[in-house]
């Protein structure tokens, strides 16, 4: 019996091993194959659009409106914002070509262009009067679409932070709307000391370790503290102003909604809307949420102002988040895809979206920024936006940007946690960035 057993075992082994080897080889071959036939070439015109979750509302509107106007079918796929880049690159490079139009976070424009996930559309954009490229807010158009002098997309959502404040809380504590970061920290300290027992805090700092949160808090300060503008190739972290910016975050953290490291925009927003926070740096659409009686307890009790500035800085803002749309090089119908992108970034569409609650979209064109409809829809916000958007400053957009931002976020989080000083956070990030580039 045992002899039999050994025989059957031994003779099955090599055959099984051969099968396994063949399968593995096949798998590797498939994996290494960057090109190859893509799936999904359908005869009918279905446009597949990749949309980020924060713009889901806008995505649905775009889908409906585009279908109405052109009759073409649109399929929108909504994806968490931190997955967009992964999906776009994998899609393009694995040759499976699921998407025709890709909404991307502007900081990844370099990475996406480098890896061939979005196409060079310079000629089309320059040549089309309809697109009206000069109408785009230039401080946005540059970072969002340009890589090595070529155009890779069109902006669809501005996304800047401005300072929202709760008028009542400021008044009863005798605090003026701060115009410098020093005043801001002092105001937060005063209010928190007075009202902490009631669960009310002077400020809410977004410190959660995702780029849109902790990164925004930092770049808000960097943009308004450095004398010039942020260099999208290599933001100037090696300057004293950068250290001051990081320090400003650290200074106000003890007086902010507990605890900054745990606070992302989904935690901070409801707190402001229920009147527990005096000041918050947030995207402009907070203005529309704040006026919605179903969600907000602070209707008509809030105000908006440009972000405070540093001693050497000027009124500005940072492009925290911010979205553009590009075309996949493997799109089955490029003309239709281009039509969609032009549609999404057109004056009419942008104006419609910025005056719709829940769309999550900001102005991207000078014409819409200054339009009467916008001013009517959100007067306070529109006024501040008009002041700040032309001075918008960009985060890094080079191909190494994703890794740069991760390194920055990590060090800022360590700083907020108390493991690093502001200076160390900046110098460590700077060193890491140099290594990435070099």
């Amino acid at each position: 019996m045992s002899a039999q057993r050994r025989t059957s075992f031994r003779s099955s082994r090599p055959r099984v091993a051969a099968t396994l080897a063949a399968l593995t080889a096949a798998g590797l071959a498939l994996a290494g194959c960057a090109g190859g036939s893509g799936g999904g070439a359908d005869g009918d015109k279905t446009l597949k659009v990749l949309i980020a979750a924060p713009q889901e509302g806008a995505g649905k509107i775009l889908e409906a409106d585009f279908e109405k106007e052109t009759g073409a079918k649109v399929e929108v796929e909504v994806v968490p914002y931190d997955q967009i880049q992964t999906k776009a690159i994998l899609d393009a490079q694995s040759g499976t070509n699921n998407y025709d139009v890709i909404q991307y976070w502007y900081t990844s424009v370099g990475a996406l262009a480098e890896s061939g996930a979005i196409e060079d559309i310079t000629e089309w954009v320059d040549g089309s009067a309809e697109i009206d490229a000069p109408d785009f807010i230039q401080s946005i158009f540059g970072p969002y679409t340009q890589y090595e002098g070529k155009t890779y997309g069109l902006p669809i959502d501005g996304d800047m932070h401005v300072l929202f404040y709760n008028k009542e809380i400021l008044e009863r504590n005798g605090v003026e709307v701060p115009t410098t970061w020093e005043e801001y920290t002092a105001a937060a300290e005063k209010i928190t000391a007075a009202e902490k027992a009631n669960g009310i805090y002077g400020s809410a700092i977004l410190g959660a370790k995702s780029a849109f949160n902790i990164g925004s808090s930092f770049f808000n300060r960097l943009a308004t503290m450095i004398p010039g503008t942020i260099d999208p190739e290599m933001p100037q972290l090696n300057t004293p102003e950068a250290v001051e910016a990081a320090q400003a975050m650290l200074d106000v953290a003890p007086y902010a909604l507990p605890s900054p490291l745990e606070i992302g925009f989904e935690q901070a927003l409801p707190q402001f809307l229920s009147g527990n926070v005096a000041m918050i740096e947030f995207w402009t659409d907070l203005g529309t949420f704040a006026q919605d009686p179903e969600q907000s307890k602070v209707v008509d009790k809030w105000g908006v102002a440009p972000l405070p500035i540093g001693p050497k800085g000027h009124v500005a803002g940072a492009l925290d988040a911010g979205w553009a749309m590009g075309i996949s090089p493997n799109a089955s119908d490029k003309d239709l895809a281009k039509e969609f992108v032009a549609f999404a970034s057109s004056k009419a569409t942008n104006e419609k979206l910025i005056t719709t609650t829940g769309s999550g979209v900001d102005p991207i064109r000078t014409s819409t920024l200054e339009s009467a409809k916008y001013k009517e829809f959100a007067p306070a916000v529109a006024a501040v936006a008009a002041e700040v958007f032309p001075n918008a400053q960009s985060w890094p957009t080079s191909p190494e940007a994703p890794e740069m931002l991760q390194s920055l976020n990590d060090n800022l989080a360590l700083m907020l946690q108390g493991s690093l000083t502001a200076e160390q956070a900046m110098s460590q990030t700077w060193d890491a960035w140099q290594k990435l580039k070099g």
């Binding site: 039999q4 025989t7 059957s8 003779s11 099955s12 055959r15 099984v16 099968t19 396994l20 399968l23 593995t24 798998g27 590797l28 994996a31 290494g32 960057a34 931190d82 997955q83 992964t86 690159i89 994998l90 393009a92 490079q93 694995s94 890896s115 996930a117 902490k196 027992a197 669960g199 959660a208 370790k209 995702s210 909604l257 507990p258 605890s259 900054p260 490291l261 745990e262 935690q267 707190q271 527990n276 994703p402 890794e403 991760q406 990590d410 989080a413 360590l414 907020l416 946690q417 493991s419």
Partner: protein, 304 residues
Amino acid sequence: MTQSVLTSSPGRRARRTAWAGRTMLTPVLLAIAIVAIYPLGYLVASAFSESSLGRPFTEWVSFANFAELLGDGVTFPSLGRSLLFAIPSTLLALVVGFIVALSLDAAVKSGRIVRVLLLLPLMTPPVMVAVIWKLMLAPTGGLLNNLGQILVPGSEPFLFLGSSPSAMISLIVVDAWQWTPFCILLLYAALQTLPSEVYEAAQVDGAGVWQTFWKITFPLILPTIATVLVLKLVVSFKVFDLVFIMTSGGPGFDTTVSSYSIYRTALQTFDVGAAAAQTIAFLVLVTIIIVPLNAVRQRLHRED
């Protein structure tokens, strides 16, 4: 039917059996090839090359990825944190599970309902477990801090997830919360199969409660404890959802366990080669821990 017995020789039957055995084994080996061997091959190939997300295997770099591992200050700490998480969580779930399992026999009449209620944490998708607990532990508006405010009004909120070491402790507790029912179930079932004759004999001999437990129950249940330990440990090493949703590896890096660190490297910086090397390091760690424990487990089972 007896005819076929007479006409087929033992040798032929044995060969048919062997062939049948191989055939029946083939699907599972195919399955392993697809979900284990192929990815492992891909993993090893990536670890030895320069790979990014969409452009795998662009360049053969031999051991460069591994060398970087040693000095990057990220991999080894994350491996340590995986241990720091898995071992306490396992022990906690095991001890608590055992105590509850021992007590469950008192709930004979309402047994079914009690058992289902106790199973609830295990039935809940880990994503939702993470979301609920994150809300419960939140500094403002979270259940635990709310209770704290009621007991001690005006006190500072306690940062369960925003400070260390409570962030790691919170994760350990939540993971144990979810998996204790698993331990309860297995241990309770094992307790059910213990023969009662031994107990009756012990009682006739006049053995006390404590003695009975240590000299009879515990040794008999030891094999099962070992099995549960190994199973739970394996599960704990794989933790991802909890970290992803509750702390994002923070504060700072304090809860960045290996699986989360690999996720970051692969899907946030897209350095697949480095992620693959990290994964191999992780597999080595898991193997080092699990293999001896499993050997002990097998020996305990055989001793019956």
